[in-house]
Symmetry: C2
Subunit: 192 residues, 2 copies
């Protein structure tokens, strides 16, 4: 998505070897018009996937997921993150390891909100090692819902998440795919 | 706001003396069309307040704040919650007590995103004891930004947050104001 790639070029900051800071428009300060355009693009890409619900994980996934859900005209559900959860009967849960924070979190979704006839679209802001997506895939599996697709805002294609998703056979669409960071500059897959 | 009051009547659940559960359309599963309508209503109410940024706290505030910011055509910033924060020079922070969870959290906003010429609209999903709003007011004060208003989705008017805000002289608009829970039913201020 050209609009997003341009925004990353102008407003993103590369830190070290593999960190892209986009807290000025995506995950702390948020650009609502950009989120709206991204939501419309996700809805266009997955228009024929029969999506009945959009799933994400709090907090940074909420803005793009909400806009995708608005344009798809379906509810959005954000999984809650917990330090560690006392298992309760009414929740689907999965354990997610954060490489950034080097800590395990449990994520959960209330069982009332996923039904066997649902087809979900999983949305997240970043795809790096794919831990959050994997957690949502685990929940989808246990809940016995179909996963109609995975939509990512920014994918770091050189990390292992992309491969992990491709191996599942589920369709993944990333609005910006980063091939590499070169001398502090972002190099997109589309530019290679 | 009639649309929201109707939704609370049909889909909300009263638990005990003072808890309203709305996790099926507001703070776990989210109704995007309702969020959009609420965002439009906040934008209408604060159209003349000169708002340059919308502030909220993760996670439940993000959806209504994003939609308000979209309709006001300004950026949205969500404060990050932390268990307790090692103070860093680049963050504005405030301590927020959660009555529900009986725990202190620090909330923070990066200093880069608030400037002295900003006029902010504070949005939150619930107003009960007003702790989250108070935290954002503290940050606004230290950052030396003007608070143009406070927009609340659901206010429990019988708890102390409303009075606390009124005492500051800042304009507050709540889309649904709950006067009381009577026999497990919601009684709105508009019905009294």
């Amino acid at each position: 998505m050209k609009l997003l790639e341009d925004k990353i070029k102008t407003d993103g900051t590369v830190l070290g070897e593999d960190v892209l800071k986009v807290d000025n428009f995506l995950n702390h300060q948020v650009d609502p018009k950009l989120m709206d355009a991204m939501g419309a693009e996700f809805a266009r890409l997955f228009a024929d996937a029969g999506i009945t619900k959009v799933l994400t994980v709090e907090s940074s996934g909420i803005a793009p997921a909400l806009m995708a859900a608005l344009h798809l005209n379906v509810p959005m559900i954000f999984a809650r993150k917990h330090k560690s959860l006392t298992l309760t009967d009414n929740l689907y849960t999965a354990r997610v390891y954060s490489y950034t924070k080097q800590v395990n979190n449990d994520i959960s979704i209330d069982k009332r909100f996923l039904n066997e006839d649902d087809t979900v679209l999983i949305i997240d802001d970043f795809l790096a090692n794919g831990q959050a997506v994997q957690g949502l895939l685990e929940i989808a599996k246990v809940a016995n819902v179909k996963v109609g697709g995975i939509g990512i805002v920014i994918e770091k294609s050189f990390q292992k998440g992309r491969k992990m998703i491709e191996d599942t056979g589920i369709r993944v669409e990333s609005l910006a795919r980063i091939a590499a960071f070169e001398n502090g500059e972002v190099k997109f897959v589309s530019e290679s």
